[in-house]
Symmetry: D2
Subunit: 368 residues, 4 copies
């Protein structure tokens, strides 16, 4: 059950880092949405390995094939399957890991849970698993854009202790894609690349923070009390590999303010719309979107698999040391950006359909 | 749909702050668990209003009635309904709020979504909604304790910029309950009470951080890739009123370390068990519990409803000001502690059953 | 989990025949639907015991209370809880059944599954459980009527080997309610009452068939491939106590025809609509409603609890005999009619919202 | 959402009759189950077209590929994807159907619902869709066999008005597979083949009834009140293409008996087990399996697509006639047998895991 996400716009992913391939089945997609493999590929290319010197050198084109659910360029309303074959797998690099557990990786817990593990790579815990998410997210983004004009932009906000200066109100995809770190702050990007490169050469790794903004989100998305929009966003983001924290709006820093400092006062804008003066709520109040920009942040830990030697144990319970081989990202942040965007898009698209179902049935009933 | 939580141990809550009552239906509870209204009441009393000078003065005994699912002191395996009647409702206090939206509250978004709102109190967005969670959590805690010896202890870690010193390895419920702030650090508690009281007198409010530890959690809980244990915990906690952030283990601070600093090295303990030297993972690796203590933190913003005058708008779209009446907590943290514990218990209990279903069917099959 | 039904319009029921009460929580209901306890009571009164000489003499008014989710006569869009207290419980009648299993009843299987059973009546397997379904069905019917003009009429089609003559195209609720059997065929009703009464006096029971028609169902409801409309209707009806079979349209008899005899040819009606000449499909083709009347039938076995002596065994595994005490229906059919209608309404309402979500988001997007 | 089935052992299918391929993702499968593509292929071969003169002549080997979830011959516990490529598609045969709706087929309703349809074959409404079900069912059967010794045998019980004589207590797969009709009654099979052939030559089609028995099902499976075992079996079977009716145990015929005739009296067998003298309940009482054989029947209508000319309409709303081309089964029954078995296996496997989760957690808790 753990491989399905969403209630109405629902995805089920499959595939390990080494094996036949990885992919996704999307169920509940509205019909007559124009979609092509090329559009999906654009997002997969932002996620794929080997795209720059600060990502893993594994060479995968991650070329996707739409197996079902699309006919003559349009969605059919039935389940869409998208498949990406694994190409550049090197199981031999992992032979040592068949026995030795990588510290802070999923090797030991998968073995504890299932009693079996595909040790030829990270198996299902590999970041390759996110291919299905990003492919489905590409379709979700398209629907959100088409129906409501929603724009979702993610970017690297922090690498270790280096912080970017970004205005979430105006940041564009083009700015984000202008450098290999995926941050609109070019100066920060240059320093971050140096930093990542420095730790890479030491056989070490670094983490950081991705921030993501969703603009033009309609009012009314989110379902109290458990499926509050921020709760579903938190789950979505915290299900990504290496994530350790989540914030909406003011987040942890907001706890340092008093209520009178923190509250977003209301006003009426020129168009007669109810708006907030500030946006410490991050676009969500009481679990429901209020029409302001949704702003969230996700913490990603430094990559667990490093070349530096560490203490560990074997499957059979003996202490040993490990200096990991294989090809790994020294920093997951640049590739995490499209993943976070995809998860945000999936949540918003799901909630758009859920809101439509419950609250617009009466106002705009179907005609049969 | 948004009022149901959990996959196997599943709760559905109902009720507004003003109306017939609030409660919960618990489905999927194992049979033959001994449970009494008194045990549930203990947890509800930790959550109820009017318990101290730093909580809302609303007087509710929150006395629960078990309507179904328990027979002769034991669970039947069928759905359990628990009901708490509303007693001390004062709708007249809210007459102004029928028209004026409270800043950073759910008034405006509920109206935007549903086109209707129970304005006699917070309605479904009131913290009274959490009664059902806490009641269900009491049963979840009992099951976890009985089957696996799991202990869950939450406490206030920070109020505004005052931080408590707590050892999650040893903290006890008794220590937490020794003061009205619900923090085992007594010195901190005294200062925090003063701080809360100071802002209360100013008609203002404060926020902070709750930390929660779950000890003796069996290895193997959590379901990659979307239902990772930390993802479900994040959703659980972020669905609580006023929550703004979530962290597992090292959280946001962990992003400041390198991989070699952050990784939890493995060793074999005296009992021959695989253990980690440190616990920056917070008891979860690859979405699956590793047997170490699960440690998480949740940020709660300062209470939105304050007596200080603020700019706002009316339902009919006019700008105005509001100095809120009604009875409200100047700081939600002390009462948030049992709520966080309950949500953690619900997630762990659900995943315990899910793990049992998938991974122990083969090893310990039923005998029919 | 087994106590929840529906995907978007979702109900969770609770309660045993003896205990605090029975009821339902409805989640996902559209907001601003006018609903009163009186309207719900009308349906509950059709279901309640003691309504005529051919139903159980247990005296319950089954008076319902709306605990939450309705404000000033309108649904809030949040979860609705409806409670009916048990009044005329007589646990002493069941003391023998604490030990002896009633043949073809749920006593033995509940014990086998849960290891515990509320033996003071049928517990959760009692027909009292259906109160929550009928209450929720009343709201579903109202929504269907209001949004799409859907009419749902059920009636007794057969009692044992006596068959009624009914035209599903024109049958009305008034005709159905004109006699205590709930069949629009008055002559049949008189003979059926005699038959039921005859077996009642012998301490025996009889079964039969309920037919149900849903008229004005919009085209397009149903979700291939697993949530086909007939599949969800089958599950809904087969979850009712005592049901043994389900048919849609031509049903089992349709298997005696050839394809050319069975197929529903198409034509264009005066309004330019695509219609079918015949309706052997029962209003559903390929799992999706086609705009014709939906017609289904459900088989209900003779009541298991009878006064006639039968061979049985005790809980502790000894053979014995039992002549059941307690108050029971000699024939469940008259009271099954509102139950079947409720289940049909719940399925159609759920699928109306599901269809709205997926297929009308694009055509009639929300405006935020 | 309609493409997912099951709660814990959960499948999601994809694919149209013409397009890249069809398949299934299985989530929640227990780990360490030995499974090979060859074992799955055995079941797919029973389902595939072109297997005999009384099935469609479309030539598909339906060769399956396991894309994920299996490692070194064992299930990993993560999602399993199985893919079958479409080979012998002939879209040109369907050009007429792009415009003309086949009577009693899904053409018109798919268009009404989605506003788009893959007219190059039956699209998602084609029986090819069931490949994913049968592949997943093969794994479910293996688990059921291995854990509990469950045997599932389906067979053709009736073709039009010809009825087979079969003893569900002893019927074997070998007997079923001994002829192309898939009925253990050889004499019946010969007559049925003649009958099918006769209608085939007339450009017509026939329907019938499949019966299925599940033996050695453990006591206790099924979850009242909505997820009763017979309710989930009904949904499972009624979701198959062309199904029109479902019966459990005595079914519709059982309504002709009185309670004293119909009830299954209990006795204690030689092993000290509680058993029933008769089995009119069909192995399920109160929605829970009682350890007796589960026996059900499904009605399948005559194939809708026939070569005989019929009245119909075009997509653009004009009346016309159609004599269908393409390759179609004159009778779906022989190929429906493995489909029914698969659906029964999926339901039982899901409920086995669900029962294990709820009721065996306490009795045989995990050890961590």
């Amino acid at each position: 059950m753990g491989n399905t996400f969403g209630h109405l716009f629902r995805i089920t992913t499959f595939g390990e880092s080494h094996g036949g391939g990885v992919g996704v089945v999307i169920d509940g997609c509205p019909p007559q949405i124009e979609i092509s493999a090329e559009e999906i590929q654009v997002e997969l290319d932002r996620r794929r390995p080997g795209q720059s010197k600060i990502t893993t050198p594994r060479r995968e084109t991650d070329t996707c094939e739409i197996l079902s659910g699309v006919f003559q360029g349009q969605t059919l309303g039935t389940s869409i399957c998208i498949l990406v074959r694994n190409k550049d797998a090197r199981p031999q690099d992992y032979s040592e890991m068949a026995e030795k557990y990588r510290p802070s990786h999923a090797d030991a817990t998968y073995d504890a849970k299932y009693g079996i593990r595909n040790w030829q790579g990270g198996g299902r815990s590999s970041a390759r698993e996110t291919i299905g998410r990003v492919a489905a997210g590409a379709i979700a983004k398209k629907i959100l854009k088409q129906i409501a004009g929603v724009e979702i932009v993610g970017y690297v906000k922090r690498i270790k202790d280096l912080e970017a200066v970004v205005d979430p109100n105006t940041v564009t995809l083009e700015q984000v894609e202008s450098n290999i770190v995926r941050s609109p702050d070019g100066e920060f990007a240059n320093r971050a690349i140096e930093e990542i490169d420095r730790y890479l050469r030491q056989g070490d790794s670094v983490g950081g923070v991705v921030e993501c903004v969703a603009r033009n989100v309609p009012k009314g998305l989110g379902m109290p009390v458990f499926d509050k929009l921020e709760a579903d966003l938190a789950k979505a983001v915290m299900s990504l590999p290496a994530s350790k924290g989540f914030e909406i709006g003011s987040g942890f820093a907001g706890t340092l303010l008093t209520g009178s400092e923190h509250n977003d006062e209301f006003y009426i804008d020129e168009a007669g719309q109810i708006r907030t003066v500030t946006n410490r709520s991050g676009g969500i109040q009481g679990g429901i979107s209020n029409g302001e920009h949704i702003i969230l942040r996700a913490a990603f830990k430094p990559t667990a698999t490093i070349r530096k030697e560490q203490r560990t144990v074997t499957r059979s319970g003996e202490e040993t040391v490990l200096a990991a081989k294989g090809r790994h990202d020294p920093c997951v942040l640049p590739r995490a950006v499209p993943m976070v965007e995809a998860m945000v898009a999936l949540v918003l698209c799901d909630h758009l359909l859920r809101h439509q179902a419950q609250c617009h049935t009466v106002r705009s009933p179907i005609e049969g």
